[in-house]
């Protein structure tokens, strides 16, 4: 009958036990431990990337319209979180951090929720790209958290889906040529190309509200924008394709 542990046991009985004190001393040897989430609402741009990558869907958002913008409350449910830190990795602005705080014990659900409110000013306008200077590198498309931008290098096209775009502005920061910006959509109306026009006055005759005035003698073409109903009859009737519907340059 062998008792291999006997000597160790008797020796242990006379030495100091190796138990840690309780409550345990703070912050020793925790290293990169992923504990309670720390959220900084000031730097959040509401790109929605954290919600996309969170596997247990622990992050929820509530938006409340106020004057001048939106109040965005982001809630991190620690009782659902799996502490993978993917949200920390993907957050561009660094607003989410995993602290080393492991004391996550609560008797009520409210003890285990981290939330913060951001105020986001209303962004007027949609995303536009100055296609003359764009090099079609695709960095904006790759970094878009909602996959709203499509860039094709071979055909040199740049498109954005305005429904998906959340106007976070991350693409603007990533563009190396600084060709992206939010622009108020220009009013659409009849565009006049002076080089192609022969002043035949057909458009003035076709206009149902009489908004166009053409003078053959002085070679002037004017349109009363207030009366124009944008029906497009003048565009269809022009034999020289000097008129088109598009954004009006003032």
């Amino acid at each position: 009958m062998m008792f291999p542990f006997l000597k160790t046991a008797i020796h242990n009985a006379f030495t100091k036990p190796s138990t840690e004190a309780f409550p345990c001393p703070e912050g020793e040897g925790l290293g990169h431990y992923r504990g309670r989430i720390f959220f900084n609402p000031e730097s959040c741009v509401d790109c929605g990337m954290c919600i996309r990558v969170c596997s247990p869907a622990a992050i929820t958002v509530e938006r409340e319209e106020v004057e001048g913008g939106v109040n965005i409350t982001r809630t991190f449910d620690l009782t659902s979180c799996t502490f993978c830190a993917t949200c920390e990795d993907f957050c561009e602005e660094g607003s989410i951090k995993m602290t080393t705080d492991y004391h996550m014990v609560g008797t009520k659900h409210e003890d285990l929720i981290v939330s913060g409110t951001t105020f986001k000013k209303k962004v007027l306008g949609n995303l536009v790209c100055d296609q003359d200077n764009c090099i079609y590198c695709g960095l904006c498309a790759r970094n878009c958290p909602q996959n709203a931008i499509t860039v094709d290098r071979t055909t040199k096209t740049w498109t954005v889906d305005h429904e998906k775009c959340v106007k976070c502005g991350i693409c603007i920061g990533k563009c190396p040529k600084k060709v992206l910006k939010f622009e108020e959509p220009k009013e659409e109306g009849v565009v006049f190309d002076a080089e192609k026009c022969v002043y035949c006055t057909l458009c003035a005759k076709k206009c149902p509200v009489g908004a166009i005035e053409v003078d053959r003698a002085t070679k002037t073409w004017t349109i009363n924008r207030e009366n124009c109903i944008k029906c497009g009859a003048c565009v269809k009737g022009c034999p020289k394709q000097a008129l088109s519907m598009g954004p009006i340059e003032d």
Binding site: T79, S80, H103
Partner: protein, 148 residues
């Protein structure tokens, strides 16, 4: 006469019973790590009991799978009063990544009143001990309320 002694003893000698309702075993390992020499939960009187009839604190881990749901309810009914239920990890509280699955029936709040929840995936043994300590104090309050 002995009432005060009995009430005090309720917090000083809490016996644990652990139910694994479909857990990945991560939280189970950390729970028994609490009883190792480094964290030593036994110095507060914690002891793992072999049967739910001996238990004071029931520790539940795992999202409640459909197969274990019936057994969980029956086991919880076998624990004598006063008792405390502790949900260990984020699975029993919300289902964690298994939310919405066809065979997962979290949260535990649907089946019993959860007294303490320890969040984490998995929670550290120090956090588990804090949660168990809190549960022991709640036990004392329950015992006092039982025999007012």
């Amino acid at each position: 006469m002995f009432n005060k002694l009995i009430n005090d003893s309720a917090a000083k000698s809490p016996w644990l019973y652990h139910i694994n309702s479909g857990s990945c075993n991560g939280c189970d390992i950390e729970l028994v790590a609490c009883l190792t020499p480094r964290y030593d939960a036994e110095r507060f009187g914690f002891k793992l009991a072999g049967t739910p009839r001996h238990a004071d604190i029931v520790v539940v881990s795992g999202p409640i799978t459909s197969q274990s749901r019936e057994r969980l309810i029956r086991t919880l009914a076998q624990v004598p009063e006063p008792k405390c239920v502790v949900s260990l990890g984020s699975c029993p509280k919300s289902g964690n990544v298994f939310k919405g699955s066809y065979s997962v029936e979290a949260p535990l709040d649907n089946y019993c009143h959860v007294d303490v929840s320890v969040a984490g995936c998995t929670p550290k043994p120090e956090a588990i001990m804090e949660g168990l300590y809190k549960a022991a104090l709640i036990l004392k309050e329950k015992r006092e309320a039982m025999h007012k």
